[in-house]
């Protein structure tokens, strides 16, 4: 089990309690499921992107600066997931 921050739009691992709906959500994910979810970052990688409290407030309008950070977060999440998938064999759907 490891903590991650979510930078996608939605993810659900069926038959488990894991359902992630909010940008920036901190979630504990069992290791066997981490690589299946698009949009996860280790907390330290997420923090390095510099999201503010307003950025993470779902009720506040998003600035152009936030959108740049979101795109950077997506790129980082994709790279992280590819590293995990390259280390994982025989993954399930």
């Amino acid at each position: 089990m490891s903590a991650h921050r979510f930078v996608g739009s939605y993810a659900k691992v069926y038959d488990t309690p894991i359902e992630i709906k909010t940008f920036g959500q901190l979630v504990d994910v069992p290791d066997e499921h981490v690589h299946k979810i698009a949009g996860l970052l280790p907390p330290q990688d997420f923090d390095a992107l510099g999201f503010t409290a307003d950025d993470l407030n779902p009720y506040k309008p998003k600035s152009a600066e936030f959108e740049k950070k979101r795109v950077a977060a997506h790129a980082a999440a994709k790279a992280y997931r590819e590293r995990l998938m390259n280390r994982t064999e025989g993954t399930e759907a």
Binding site: S9, Y10, A38, G39
Partner: protein, 357 residues
């Protein structure tokens, strides 16, 4: 407790997977399905239909009575359709959507790009699909899998409740768990055991709303006196793009009752739309485009505004069909008939592209 389980579409879990070994081989290790890369497909109840064709051929030879004798089984094949499948980006720009196996099947290649997933046609890609239907948690109910499936037609709909696509597919055959033990090896497509339902499948991303502020529909016209990008998003009432892939299963051969491969015929991509009619410069340009002979235009439609959940379809070299006007309540609708896209040069395959960003 009931002594039998009544089947329900609500129990269904659908999966799509690209086959990596060949047209009539489901991915497996020594006969056991390997579900790596199988993606759960979020289809509505009633959306998925599949049918097999394996009719009996009559033997009406003369017997002295008016009754016939049993016939023999004829050719075998299958067709499937999924209506109104939500187009769901992954939510993370640069990560392919869950329906990536289906899109690779349509376009013939994986997506490309940095920070985006751009699907472009290739003529050399033949990527057969397997589709699996399980009744979740009740293995005694009937499950099945189809192999050698190719999308024959994909129609993307815009300005509906959510972005969706209708798919029509042909498949080599589909095998169910009840008859699996007695089926021949070709029907089983390389498997010696019926596939097991994947545990804990994951889905990523949310459906894109079918309309919204910031969505754009731009037609770049070339009609004399009416050149340039024309914005239609605040007039568009319906818009659809149809991709006829040209895939045709090859069957009817002496050595097999089943289709043996796929061949690619002409690919045709078309769009059609209707708008609220007005006298705007943009719509007048579209009408002039429809009226002028032997010119082409580019069509680009964007759905979604949040990074990771944006879908863009671009159609090149579209020859605009004639437009028509029709009363629609207190308004008049202008509609452009089905108009076909083309590659921009001989040797190109860029009739249309689909991008997620």
């Amino acid at each position: 407790m009931p002594t039998v389980n009544i089947n329900s579409p609500r129990y269904t879990r659908l999966f799509a997977q690209l086959q990596t070994t060949g047209f009539n081989v489901v991915n497996n290790t020594t006969g056991t399905w390997t579900n790596t890369g199988a993606a759960m497909i979020r289809a509505d109840e009633g959306a998925f239909t599949g049918s097999r064709s394996e009719p009996y051929t009559r033997l009406p030879y003369l017997t002295g009575t008016r009754s016939e004798q049993p016939g023999v089984r004829g050719r075998k094949s299958a067709s499937l359709s999924i209506r109104g499948l939500a187009v769901i980006p992954s939510g993370t720009a640069g990560t392919a959507p869950d329906m990536d196996p289906i899109l690779q099947n349509i376009f013939g290649a994986p997506s490309s790009g940095s920070g985006v997933n751009l699907y472009q046609f290739t003529d050399t890609g033949y990527l057969p699909l397997s589709l699996f239907s399980f009744q979740h948690g009740i293995p005694t109910l009937t499950a099945f899998y189809a192999w050698g499936a190719y999308v024959r037609s994909a129609t993307f709909h815009f300005n509906q409740a959510f972005q969706s696509v209708d798919l029509a597919m042909d498949a080599g055959f589909f095998m169910d768990n009840q008859g699996f033990a007695n089926a021949d090896a070709i029907a089983k497509a390389g498997l010696t055991a019926f596939p097991a339902e994947p545990a804990s499948p994951t889905v990523n991303g949310s459906p894109i709303a079918g309309f919204g502020t910031g969505y754009t529909a731009t037609i770049t016209t070339t009609a004399t006196g009416f050149t340039g990008p024309q914005s239609l998003e605040l007039k568009l009432r319906s818009f659809s793009v149809t991709i006829d892939t040209g895939f045709e299963l090859v069957g009817g051969v002496y050595g097999s009752a089943y289709p043996i491969e796929v061949v690619g015929g002409t690919r045709r991509i078309s769009c059609q739309f209707s708008c609220v009619d007005d006298d705007s410069a943009a719509l007048n340009a579209i009408k002039a485009q429809c009226d002028q002979d032997n010119i082409t235009m580019t069509v680009a439609i964007v759905a979604g505004t949040v990074a990771g959940s944006i879908m863009t379809m671009t159609l090149n070299n579209v020859q605009a069909n004639a437009f028509n006007l029709a009363d629609s309540g207190n308004m008049v609708d202008m509609s452009m008939g089905q108009s076909y896209a083309h590659a921009t040069a001989i040797g190109s395959t860029n009739d249309a592209t689909l991008q997620f960003s």
